[in-house]
């Protein structure tokens, strides 16, 4: 009987792979995402204790577990707990293998590619060093054939942080059971964005507004097409992991039968500080500026956490000063612009649930970059760049798929959009770099245990970036990924 099940699952898998192969020749860059079977091994849990079936999206319990510093509040949290699950070692790995193809065209010409391969590799370690002392490390090794052969991945510590939980006790504040009112995270980490990109089920489609940068054409696929752009020295994106320190809290609110959360991050790097290089002799080029940014997010949920049960609303924002990179073609522009120039991002997010199986969520964000950022790059008559970004996603995770009577399926659709109000370079049209992106996703949990996960993943994305071709045409991209996503 087990054999028959395996045959049936293999048949489904082959069917989806065939569908993919018969589709467009597509390809794309792949983002990393987290699933941590080490916790399943530690607690002897199945993966869907913390994840919506098909991982990596966290369910309400998984979100609370993360917010509470990877703790259940029991003796089992301790890394020296004698009853800890056998086979526990706080390290997990994750990758996706399969077939990916892409088609990207601009001004009537483009690139088509496709092939088997793998996304990249995440080596993850999260857990507790002791009670109320959490840590996290994500290492992504440099791999020459990552991204299904479309590009090598950088070797880096994507995350590395320590988190001190319940610091309010040192201020004489007694928190209720399950409440963590003052937690400090230091290191490099994913910001508390409205909906985590690292735990999103989409593998080859980023949240456009998390990474959007005025002047840089949005593309979700392989490069190589001819596009126009203007220089913007701001590299800050809320979707990128940032080095810094974060204060956060999670508190049960009995009045709403939900949770109140906040996070406030102070972020700074020394990447661009100090005297600028590349400055011709005899010319004062300025100091370039520091990269100091702040990010905050506050949410309140009602009738649950707001991802699987209940509803949630939130506000978020970022403010910072971006260093004005040296522009060798215009060294004096640097002095005109001065050091770090301001930018800001503000937005709202909403998450609605139905029947414990449906989750409709989305966010809207307004962004503004100072005109001096563009002045520093020698853009004549530069102006503040402002834009709106948004997305809405509908997830369906049925306990039992209707008609087919099958558990462990996950379906998702997301619409990303970018609308520019004003360009930093006034010679570009207002709708230059506007984005419309549609992503469809199906996942099936082939195998899950207290040790491992294996999911079949099929994802299709189509998008249009307006007017970024060198002849003013739109960039049209499509990506398809079908593969096996596994974690151990």
């Amino acid at each position: 009987m087990k054999t028959s099940r395996l045959h049936a699952r293999a048949a489904i898998a082959m069917l989806l792979v065939l569908i993919a192969l018969m589709s467009y020749e597509l390809s794309g860059l792949v983002q990393t995402a987290d699933a941590i079977p080490a916790f399943a091994r530690k607690y002897d849990f199945k993966c869907n204790v913390c994840h919506v079936p098909g991982f990596p999206k966290l369910n309400d319990f998984g979100n609370l577990f993360r917010d509470r510093g990877y703790q259940l509040g029991s003796d089992a949290d301790s890394p020296v707990y004698e009853g800890i699950g056998t086979g526990y070692w706080p390290v997990s790995l994750r990758t996706t293998v399969g077939y990916q193809s892409a088609n990207v065209r601009t001004d009537g010409s483009g690139i088509t590619s496709g092939g088997f391969g793998f996304t990249g590799l995440d080596l993850l370690s999260f857990g507790t060093l002791d009670r109320n002392l959490a840590f996290g490390v994500v290492f992504t090794p440099g791999l020459g054939s990552a991204g299904f052969g479309t590009g090598a991945s950088d070797s880096d510590l994507e995350s590395a942080f320590v988190r001190l939980m319940r610091l309010e006790r040192f201020l004489g504040v007694k928190s209720g059971s399950g409440d963590y009112l003052l937690n400090l995270k230091v290191g490099k980490f994913e910001l508390d964005v409205p909906f985590s990109e690292k735990r999103s089920p989409t593998l080859n489609t980023t949240f456009a507004m998390y990474h959007y940068m005025p002047g840089t054409p949005y593309t979700a696929t392989i490069g190589g097409t001819s596009t126009s752009s203007y220089l913007n020295p701001n590299t800050f994106a809320i979707g990128e992991n940032q080095p810094g320190a974060e204060l956060s809290a999670i508190k049960k609110t009995s009045m709403t039968d939900g949770y109140f959360r906040y996070s406030l991050s102070a972020l700074a790097t020394n990447t661009f500080s100090g005297p600028l290089s590349g400055c011709p002799s005899g010319i004062t080029c300025g100091t370039g500026g520091r990269n100091v940014n702040f990010y905050g997010h506050v949410t309140q949920s009602f009738g649950g956490y707001g991802i699987v049960t209940g509803q949630r609303i939130g506000l978020f924002g970022a403010f910072g000063t971006a260093p004005t990179l040296v522009n060798p073609t215009c060294p004096t522009c640097q002095a005109v612009a001065g050091s770090g120039q301001p930018f800001s991002r503000f937005g709202v997010d909403v998450s609605l649930t139905l029947n414990g199986e449906w989750n409709l969520f989305g966010a809207w964000m307004w962004g503004n970059d100072s005109k001096n950022l563009f002045v520093s790059q020698g853009i004549a008559d530069a102006q503040n760049a402002s834009w709106n970004g948004a997305f809405v996603e509908l997830d369906y995770a049925p306990a039992l798929l209707p008609l087919l009577d099958m558990p462990d399926w996950f379906f998702s659709y997301r619409y990303d959009l970018i609308r520019n109000n004003r360009q930093g370079d006034p010679t570009f049209t207002k709708n230059y770099n506007n984005v419309d992106s549609h992503t469809f996703l199906v996942r099936y949990f082939i195998h899950h245990s207290t040790r491992t996960d294996l999911a079949l993943h099929a994802e299709y994305n189509t998008y249009r970036t307006t007017g970024v071709g060198t002849n003013g045409g739109d960039l049209m991209g499509q990506t398809m990924l079908v593969g096996f996503d596994f974690a151990y």
């Binding site: 009987m1 099940r5 199945k46 259940l72 199986e357 995770a397 009577d405 659709y413 294996l454």
Partner: protein
């Protein structure tokens, strides 16, 4: 198109329905009588030896005889087994003993009894155990669809509550047959290959409890609707009714009753 499919699915899945008569149900445990046809997921058509009269103590003896052990089924390769332990706690034995006694007095040959229990884990989370009981060919059968499965998704918990035979993938425990017990392979023709089959244990309850087993029934797949010999319970019940109706004397009643009991 996907959206239409999703919306269609939402309509059909919005309100999962439970069937059957609930005998002892609350937020943490339930025992319910359901028609066999309601168990479409199991794809079975079986006829059972119900009703069955066992005392609470006898049910408790049966319940205490059931043991489980942890198991890990890898996708490929051999399985791994843990140590044996009692399947039910004392509190669960007491609850199920009383509930099953009542349920099997009411169940018919076309019904079976499903159950679900909640237990707190060491980590403070709820673990669900669910399955079904029925009597077939003179033996009590226990089907474990789920055993101590930690569930945090309300939709999955609700599904298990509505259909205690809804098995979560990846069984972590299996019943260990003891004396007068054996595991049963369930024929799954027409069943859903994506749904794990419940582990099934057949128990010779007569040998365990000293209670006479009902005569074996012919499997329904080949059985004609013929009448079978009345069980001891039925005979005693009939005898008592005859006496209460004044159709037989007290002496006849005592004599005949003793003859029936001597058959044990």
């Amino acid at each position: 198109m996907l959206l239409v499919c999703l919306l269609t699915a939402a309509c059909s899945a919005a309100a999962p329905k439970s069937e059957g008569t609930c005998l002892s149900c609350d937020d943490h445990r339930l025992v319910r009588i359901i028609p066999v046809d309601a168990q479409a997921a199991s794809g079975q058509s079986r006829r059972f030896d119900h009703p069955l009269s066992l005392e609470k103590k006898q049910w408790e003896t049966v319940l205490r005889s059931v043991n489980v052990r942890s198991i890990h089924w890898p996708l490929l390769g051999p399985s791994y087994h843990g140590t044996m332990e009692p399947a039910f706690t004392d509190e669960e034995v007491s609850y199920l003993g009383a509930a099953l006694q009542r349920a099997f007095q009411e169940a018919t040959a076309q019904q079976r009894v499903v159950f679900a229990l909640t237990r707190s884990s060491n980590a403070g989370l709820s673990q669900l155990t669910s399955g079904a009981w029925f009597v077939e060919q003179g033996r009590i059968h226990l089907q474990f669809a789920n055993y101590r499965v930690t569930v945090t998704m309300p939709s999955i918990r609700q599904q298990m509550w509505n259909d205690p035979l809804f098995a979560q993938g990846g069984a972590f425990y299996e019943p260990v047959p003891g004396a007068h017990q054996e595991t049963v392979k369930v024929a799954q023709a027409g069943g859903n290959p994506f749904r794990p089959e419940p582990a099934e244990l057949a128990i010779e309850h007569g040998a365990l409890t000293g209670h006479a087993s009902p005569p074996p029934a012919v499997p329904s797949a080949v059985a004609a609707p013929a009448t079978s010999s009345p069980s001891l319970e039925d005979s005693l019940g009939q005898l008592k009714r005859l006496y209460e109706q004044g159709l037989i004397t007290e002496e006849d009643y005592r004599t005949k009753k003793q003859q029936l009991l001597d058959r044990l």
